[in-house]
Symmetry: D2
Subunit: 144 residues, 4 copies
């Protein structure tokens, strides 16, 4: 795995994701970022279902999305998720979404996350998941 060139996650735009403007409703891009994030976590060995089974959940602290070009039904969107910041407790992922029908970037996004236990209390990834901490640090080191 080349940590700086992750394989993009592919999303085919569904009919029910469009709205009466005949384009994809903007709320769906937030969901696609989640899909890409989950696929990336699975690809690096930390599938979200396994994380949850270990009593950890990862709530979203913030989302940001900039819509550059509209997309619509049956477009294929290639989404690259990239870890760009990690503090041992919080992490930040950036997304680039390319519409394969014209190879143009249609949207970019950023999400921030922490880890909590099932009671909703933030936990330190560094202390509680040293294996994930090491992988996250490798990705951050590869950025520079």
């Amino acid at each position: 795995m080349n940590s700086t060139n992750p394989t993009p996650y592919l999303h085919n735009v569904k009919y029910y994701e469009t709205d009466k403007m005949k384009i994809t409703h903007h709320s769906n891009y937030i969901r696609w970022m989640e899909e890409a994030r989950i696929a990336w976590l699975e690809a690096i060995g930390f599938g979200y279902d396994k994380l949850e089974a270990s009593g950890v959940i990862s709530p979203v602290i913030s989302v940001n999305c900039q819509y550059l070009r509209s997309t619509t039904f049956n477009d294929n969107i290639a989404i690259t998720a990239r870890l760009v910041k990690y503090t041992g407790v919080k992490f930040t992922i950036e997304y680039e979404m390319v519409n394969l029908s014209d190879n143009q970037v249609c949207a970019i996004g950023v999400t921030q996350h922490c880890f909590t236990n099932e009671a909703g209390r933030p936990i330190s990834i560094k202390k509680n998941h040293p294996d994930l901490n090491a992988v996250f640090n490798d990705f951050i080191a590869a950025l520079s």
Copy 2:
């Protein structure tokens, strides 16, 4: 409360519920039936959040919806939910949805349900929830 003339539940069609046909996507009517069912349960004193807090969940066994006239953004839909069958274990609810913009029935539906504990095991409403059992029986008696 007149058990044979329940107050309809009102749903205002949201922009994100439309699709590129410029009408409401058909999957949303299934969600509106759930909204109307939950409002009806709350109206008869068995709010769904309280039911779940008591360790009971109510999965859907089947849904049926017939789409008679399309609806679209900002239409107000009056949904009447009516208990039509109850066996002590399973119950059936029928729905009539009227679009208030033309006072025509836009859809009718039917859902079937049971109650289970949190492990997913079916439980008898009659045995475990005699109060709800009594109310359900009153509704069924009022049908004839």
Copy 3:
């Protein structure tokens, strides 16, 4: 293409498709049937985007779904869509959904459709789309 053994459409259950019962919300199966139907139409040469570009839309007349076993996040669902009835104007598709995590049928469904022009007026497939009419008739003939 073997018309009696269509390739199943695969859907991976998304996190946002689950609800607080920790299972897939029942409304999503209605959407998956649409995904499988659209994939099947594309596979037989009548992609839905092309149909719409030709001024034809295909509203849903009715849906039915029976939920046999719950599914949840990250399950892979293999959905077989099969044309079972065609009158020249209306058609009916049946669906079987198999959860690949246990190879059990989790749900079965039926949808009914017609074709309309963009003004919402029903049109005869037989008259207006003889090519699609022929393919639909082949599928029906293969049933017996």
Copy 4:
């Protein structure tokens, strides 16, 4: 109408808006902001259905949401939408979402918009909708 103290829009959290974390899925807040924005436009005399009927659509340029406290099924969320910036072409709306079950702010958000014709070409609100331009300018003037 007091332009600096708009009436909050109320959203009751639906069962299907929760996810397996037992809280509201974060993508729904993006939809609630749209609901509040549409209600606000209607309250100031520019209902979105009428805007669209006049050939104008208002795509979202960007969204931002910060999640401060989780919400869940049946919570009532009071959402205040406030125009905070307007250039004659683009406008920015800020949102504050208060969970009425504890009267705490659960999320804050920002969206940016422009107006386009149906072909997707940006149009000047100032030139094409002088009435809306005047109302928007009144709101901005009231901020200082």
